[in-house]
Amino acid sequence: MGLGLLASRLIRPQKTAARNLLLRSIVTKPELQSAEPATTPQPDLPPRTPLGGARVHFPNPDDAIEVFVDGYPVKIPKGMTVLQACEVAGVDIPRFCYHSRLSIAGNCRMCLVEVEKSPKPVASCAMPALPGMKIKTDTPVAKKAREGVMEFLLMNHPLDCPICDQGGECDLQDQSMAFGSDRGRFTEVKRSVVDKNLGPLVKTVMTRCIQCTRCVRFASEIAGVQDLGMLGRGSGEEIGTYVEKLMTSELSGNVIDICPVGALTSKPFAFKARNWELKGTETIDITDAVGSNIRIDSRGPEVMRITPRLNEDINEEWISDKTRFCYDGLKRQRLNDPMIRGADGRFKAVSWHDVLAVVAEIAHQVKPEEMVGIAGKLSDAESMMALKDFLNKMGSNNVWCEGNGPSPNADLRSGYIMNSGIGGLENADVFLLVGTQPRVEAAMVNARIRKTVRGSNAKVAYVGPPTDFNYDCEHLGTGPETLTEIAECRHPFCSTLSNAKNPAIIVGAGLFERSDKDAIFSAVEVIAKNGNVVRPDWNGFNVLLLNAAQAAALDLGLVPESSQSIESAKFVYLMGADDVDLEKLPNDAFVVYQGHHGDRGVYRANVILPASAFSEKEGTYENTEGCAQQTLPAVPTVGDARDDWKIIRALSEVAGVRLPYDTVGAIRSRIKTVAPNLLSVEEREPATFWASLKPDVTKKMSSTPFEAAIDNFYMTDSITRASKIMAQCSALLLKK
């Protein structure tokens, strides 16, 4: 009882209250006097909001039907299920087997609701809503049905919540608390099931399985690996592979998320933490160019696990195994202190003050054109901006980002981003993949293509080295000759392309490293022109980038002045660049390595500047479709490490060319003058100009066939190379 209410009671004279009571008892209600019942009994219910952002999209306004959920009318499009109608009405129906992105199984029976004029409770997930249906979710029948189903589910489910990793985020636990009975009547012996070996990522405790078949449907529909199945029948029913088989999918970690119980849990995370101890930080993934939305769960200074975050336009609700399990790489091989390589070839830890003085002194000793700066594949936009500004102030313009090739094209944004967007790929009906294998280069893009192929029977063809896709894919050829054939309309695929409504061409960024990349791109542009790929209403010309830093680097204009600068370099600044080829670097060159992992770049370095990883800093990344997103610090930095841009800012002061920004805000306003799109966070900025503005290319394509850009999906950058889990995966799961 509120304080105000108590006060008003005290103030109010007792007498009046008594008289009011008396008066009230003899008041007659007018509606009771009228003979006929009220025409439309308007439900006296507060309007409810749809659950979990359930969107109602009417493809055809005529198809709208009205149903009543607990007396509350909702308008839904035809073909929706009862469960979806309830979601729109703001009623949460308990469910185990139903998942909005998977096919409907209807075998858990948890979603039973009462429907008027139906003799039995109906499984709402599998029942289409019909006009005027009166759905009751809160009646004794529905409650009893749920309680009964729950009792059956718990019959064979072990009561091992205290030792179960799903505890605290378990659907069965939550729903048995909400809808179950407080006791069971089952007195027999519970069944037990042999655990299966699904590989180094997914731990199985199959006795806990409630046979919802979500994992089976996920594996066959989304991941495209037909390995899991439901074996046996009755009480002997179990999920398995029948013959011993590992789950060799790049999306296998997602079965951990969709499993409503603790049957499939994360093997690396097993018995490490409870989910209520973890602090969640909503950030983005940088192990590939997709920029999947993730949540980093940390406990104290340690990243405990990575889980996906919903983003319909980028990763839906899945992430790749590399994204999910790379986190243990953040704890290994880290660079803690600034170090200088002594005369004996060993590194010695020194203070920041000393190391910056040494670097600044040497930077001033070399000629400006002998200075080279290379940004790594994990660099954020802020640090790349700072690096470029610093080198420009020192008089050099040899700065680029690895992966973008020796002479990147940064002039036309349409030439290096995915113009149709990742979500937009679903509208395509023909795909031509040129020199790319999205399954390993960007697993989420591949999942999107697979979804399109499954949903609308889109055709896919590829030019490149023969690989295996998890959908039907036609192999057209291995190299530029096939591309020339298609461009000159001599190839049978041309007719498919020109007959397509929304053709999409995806070019792999692995081609950036080729010397004939301009010729290849102009050939692809000819194909795009012939196939009418770029229209005002549809832009199907896509470049699939490999690394998180690439798009932002090109937006910021990280283009080297000369493509041979590394051969004459005397001072090389590697900002996390590990995969750059330093073979031709002169022996007397001074190499500064700034980064967070002691990876390949360190072997040649003279000085190490420890930097923070993506989980420890605030940084802007642009993904392959041109959508800028920001990471947030989840854990503190390791040792004496600093943010990348801060190191460069400090170095610039020591070197006497002070950069004019001291805060993230200030450096972002500097970025605004160069690439304002990087500041519109979580918004996809489409490219404005099309390649028709480009000058003609006279160079011919070489006949060298295309090569695979990534040979090991699990190990592509310094974080994943330091990860033990990724090493296990590449040892066990990669086909030899």
């Binding site: 037909q226 390995d227 046996g232 029948r233 592979t241 029948y242 011993e244």
Partner: protein, 294 residues
Amino acid sequence: MLARIVATRLLEIRQSLRLTPQHIDTADNNPDLPWEFSAANKEKETLADMISCRYAIGDAAYHFQYEPSIKWPLDVRVALLVSMGEALALYSCTVVKEIVSHYPSNYKQSAVIPLLDLAQQQHGGWLPVSAMNAVAKVIEVAPIRVYEVATFYSMFNRSPVGKYHLLVCGTTPCMIRGSREIEDALLKHLGVKRNEVTKDGLFSVGEMECMGCCVNAPMITVADYSNGSEGYTYNYYEDVTPKRVVEIVEMLRKGEKPLHGTQNPKRTKCGPEGGNTTLHGEPKPPPCRDLDSC
């Protein structure tokens, strides 16, 4: 204490009854073993197939096979062997093709159960993993989809059975009429446990649920795999007694074919013992109102 012993015993019994749905990798159940549908499916072929295949094999091949006394030159023999092999391959394919042709071409997977059945008959009554893989290849689905079906139906045996697989009906009517004694008698006579094969590989005993013969309960079924899929029979022996099933087993052992159907000499088919007690004459028509008198 007693309750605990009972519970553990119950668990043991349950586990011994349940055949695990997982694949057990034995020497004869290796997924990598080659397995093909063979030519031994003559029973299922259509007339057209029969004619075409006989024609393809040809008279000469017939003579070559069955009259080895004729001395054929070597090259002729090789050529004949090759053409015979081709014809046989074609022949076995036609049986499979015939089964698949019963289903729409875009729903080939519907043929999974008939093909598994054919494979089981051909392979002596059980399905190795390699046979299931062969079926999966024919109907163009992932092997796991075939394993799912094969593990679901208890009629598909995934471990070896005897040449005569004896199935005792254990459902209520038969159980009341003494199916447990029948099973005990069989197991004792053969000296095996349930789902075990006798040492000579001739017999195995399994249990099945109601086979729709309740009026003649108790009953057993004999699945005869001794002659491959062409001589495959699946016969019901009804109204059996513990003594009679042993006799049936001994007759089968000798290679005789005991008469299937009811084993009670006083009954014909499902009629009552000792002849009809009702329905002696022509049944009277149902009483009807005399419409003309109205």
